[in-house]
């Protein structure tokens, strides 16, 4: 009887230990733009940039659409610093097919300038700056 209880206890301990180990490994992966991200090669380059007005000041809370030609895309908003960040679409997507546009009530898009090409370092995002002009 006692050996059966011990066996059950041992198994429960083993299950708990495995669960903890797996959880810690999963948490360590994280997401976003962290130094610990190790999946950037599979995801392809990420996309980052500022939205500015015609004077060069950054524009927070602007709508930014990062789309892949004929495949849809994602919509995000600029943060307090006027930046947006979008993870990669997968390495099969050619960054040349990725287009950025921006919008905000009271503004119209003036221009979009890609500031960088894909880097050999997968952690470096492709930077595209979008400029808005007050209507």
């Amino acid at each position: 009887m006692s050996s059966a209880i011990r066996r059950v206890g041992w198994m429960a301990g083993a299950v708990l230990a495995i669960t903890c180990a797996v959880s810690i490994a999963a948490w360590a992966g994280g997401s976003g733009f962290g130094d610990d991200d190790d999946n950037s090669e599979e995801e392809g380059p990420s996309y980052f940039g500022f939205v500015r007005d015609a004077s060069g000041a950054t524009v927070p809370d602007a709508k930014v659409t990062v789309g892949v030609k004929n495949r849809g895309g994602v919509v995000t908003r600029t943060d307090l610093l006027g930046t947006y960040k979008v993870p990669g679409f997968g390495k099969e997507v050619d960054p040349k097919d990725v287009e950025v546009s921006c919008d905000k009530p009271g503004y119209k898009q003036l221009r979009v300038v890609r500031r960088s090409s894909p880097s050999s370092d997968p952690k470096i995002p492709i930077e595209t700056e979008c400029t808005l002009q007050r209507i």
Binding site: G32, F33, G34, D35, S46, F48, F50, A57, T58, D79, L80, L81, G82, T83, K85, D121, K123, I124, P125, E127
Partner: protein, 169 residues
């Protein structure tokens, strides 16, 4: 009986040898903090260390100087803080892939300019507003770089007990 004594003696000899081996190895091995005989390597602090060394203390001292309306000290700390940001942007031009000079510019350039005016005019209210803008800029940049948990605030006490922040007459 005799066999047990011999076995015990052999065991003791093995233990003693193992202890000596471990100790001699330890004295010869490299410390976890490095080899004392190695050539000094260039000091290369990264973002966290640079923020703690060059930015946060200067932000604090600038706030304390403004709070004390010690305008010469505030002007000096503003210059030091500007230089700190320039050093950081030069030392770590990209962090987590993001362009540090552009982020610093977006986060603090405008409030630093406003602080400069406020200090030159010795205008406390404008100083307070611009300092709050600077502090918000710091936090906005922390959020952009996935460090929103590092929250900077206007200092409510001095962390420099050996420095006077009130103006000296």
């Amino acid at each position: 009986m005799r066999g047990r004594v011999i076995a015990g003696m052999v065991g003791a000899v093995i233990m003693a040898s193992a202890t000596v081996a471990v100790l001699s190895n330890r004295t010869g091995a490299q410390s976890p903090f490095g080899d004392p005989n190695a050539e000094p390597s260039p000091f290369n602090p990264q973002m966290g260390a640079l923020m703690s060394m060059l930015i946060q203390p200067r932000h604090t001292k600038l706030g304390l100087a403004g709070n004390g309306e010690n305008w010469p000290l505030a002007g000096y700390m503003l210059k030091e803080l500007r230089q700190g940001f320039a050093v950081v942007a030069k030392a770590v031009p990209r962090w987590k892939g993001l362009p540090v000079p552009d982020l610093v510019d977006a986060a603090v350039s405008q409030p630093l300019t406003l602080l400069d005016y406020a200090i030159k005019l010795k205008y406390r209210r404008q100083f307070d507003e611009a300092y709050e803008g600077l502090t918000k800029g710091c936090n906005a940049c922390h959020a952009t770089t996935d460090h929103a948990f590092v929250v900077i605030k206007v200092p409510d006490a001095s962390s420099f007990p050996d420095q006077e922040f009130a103006p000296q007459r």
